[in-house]
Symmetry: C2
Subunit: 302 residues, 2 copies
């Protein structure tokens, strides 16, 4: 079924949408802001949804920040949010390792990623090495002869890491090939992410070297993975038939909503362009609704 295009300023269309859904799941980058630039009207629309007693949940694949630190981003942009409304892919990874894998206390995670992952692992009581450890954040040559394999590493977890380097990749590769049963996890597989000035390689690009060297894919805990939705549902009870996922990416946000059995609204302020949802080169992933911007929802109230 083709998507319903919501027209800018069409109050009746947006009012109908608001009546239909009690729970609103929002992606953030590309929906509420781009880099450090808020999307026009996003803040006001969230305030309107709160006035109408909607349940609001922020579901982000950003794994560079913990939920606590991610809240600071909302604060900085003047957008109201509570930590327990925020679900990040680093948190989903930590919950997966502790609750689904039930990693024994004597086992460790090798982290290719930034402080957000470390904070979420720490909160779940999971031991880890790598990450922001200065010893691994180096461009000095990596010598396999000088490397000591830690046999307790049972998971290699990759997220966006702007300090990605050959030492981290080499260590991750050693654990995944030499520690039997070592699990290859990724916080998310976004190919790119939107900076305020444009696109940069995303978390999927950081796990890509290991994926290529190993010839196998990581298990991802971020959108569109079901793991992420399980995390949200463990904390917030909602009726999927009265829930809508708002996002800017077809292969993460919209697919995530569809796999979770909720409605979907694509906004065009981020990654996806109109040509990907209509016309001859349209994607197979079809959102239920398309709107130019989340700010356009503001017209519903008046």
């Amino acid at each position: 079924m083709p998507p319903t295009f919501l027209e800018k300023g069409a109050r009746d269309q947006y009012q109908a949408l608001l009546e239909k859904y009690d729970t609103w799941l929002f992606d953030c980058d590309g929906v509420l802001w781009n880099g450090d630039r808020p999307v026009d009207g996003a803040k006001e629309v969230l305030e309107m949804l709160r006035r109408k007693n909607k349940l609001i949940v922020f579901v982000t694949n950003n794994a560079t920040k913990s939920r606590k630190n991610y809240k600071k981003k909302f604060d900085k942009l003047g957008i109201d949010a509570a930590v327990d409304e925020i679900f990040g892919s680093a948190y989903a990874a930590a919950v997966y390792i502790s609750s689904v894998m039930k990693l024994p206390k004597d086992k460790k995670v090798y982290v290719i990623g930034m402080s957000g992952i470390e904070e979420e692992l720490r909160e779940e009581g999971i031991a880890f090495i790598g990450g922001t450890d200065p010893a691994d954040n180096t461009l000095e040559p990596f010598s396999l002869a000088d490397f000591t394999l830690d046999p307790s590493v049972a998971v290699v977890l990759c997220g966006l890491d702007t300090s990605i380097n050959y030492t981290k990749l080499s260590k991750g590769f050693q654990y995944l090939t030499r520690n039997e049963g070592c699990v290859f996890l990724a916080t998310n597989e976004d190919s790119t992410y939107p900076d305020s000035s444009g696109l940069l390689p995303g978390a999927g690009s950081v796990s890509a070297p290991l994926r290529f060297a190993l010839g196998r894919d990581p298990l991802s805990t971020g959108k569109p993975s079901k793991t992420m939705l399980d995390c949200v549902r463990a904390k917030h009870d909602f009726d999927p038939t009265r829930t809508i996922m708002v996002g800017d990416r077809l292969n993460t946000d919209i697919l995530f909503g569809q796999e979770g059995g909720v409605s979907t609204l694509l906004v065009l302020t981020g990654i996806t362009k109109l040509a990907e949802v209509t016309g001859p080169n349209a994607s197979d992933i079809v959102p239920e609704y398309v709107s130019e911007s989340v700010g356009d929802l503001a017209v519903a109230e008046g």
Copy 2:
């Protein structure tokens, strides 16, 4: 057809092989040496082939060294070799850019790789940026806002780069997405490479982030690409029916020989294990001959 397994010490088998082939193409890593450790008998077998007036060519995907520098590796291990017997994937990339692409003189290459690529580009008179430039060899955060796109970059060339980092990946991504028609080249796509102490991520893992971020594959100039064989044939005339490629990797060396219409000999001193050529999990790429080690050829003389 299943491969012919050459038995250790079976003089008649090895003598027949020597009589059959005039031109011997050798992979190096995993065949003649592993890291800094020569394969037993390799040196002596090469000397024997020279005594028998065989044409010897070294065909390597190693792009971290120029041919001149790669010769130093032979010298260090006491193995006789001439620079014009050596064909590296960095050289093949430089020849491809100058002779096939015919890159205009006012255009540049952005290099993600080491000095070997730079030296080969320089020898072909190709302008480049990136590579070993200290400005790109950093773990400092990359800021897109501070980045100035060089519109003359028409190729991004990736090879093994043990200083791979987010700045290089981000710049390569900008050129490939923002400079129209910018060509994505890789010296080779080896998933791993053998260090003397084990396996490390290979050149294919270094281009993998861009491959993932772009959603498309680079054109590779190394084995098994035909570009590499074209390079060899431009310098050395040989009869494919009397030529054999000796290598340790099915998906590079053996496939390269097969695509080039020459015979193939797999040795088991490198990447490929016996279980990959025989039994239920055997690869679809079947070499013509299999020998435990290149050193086993020594028995042919005596």
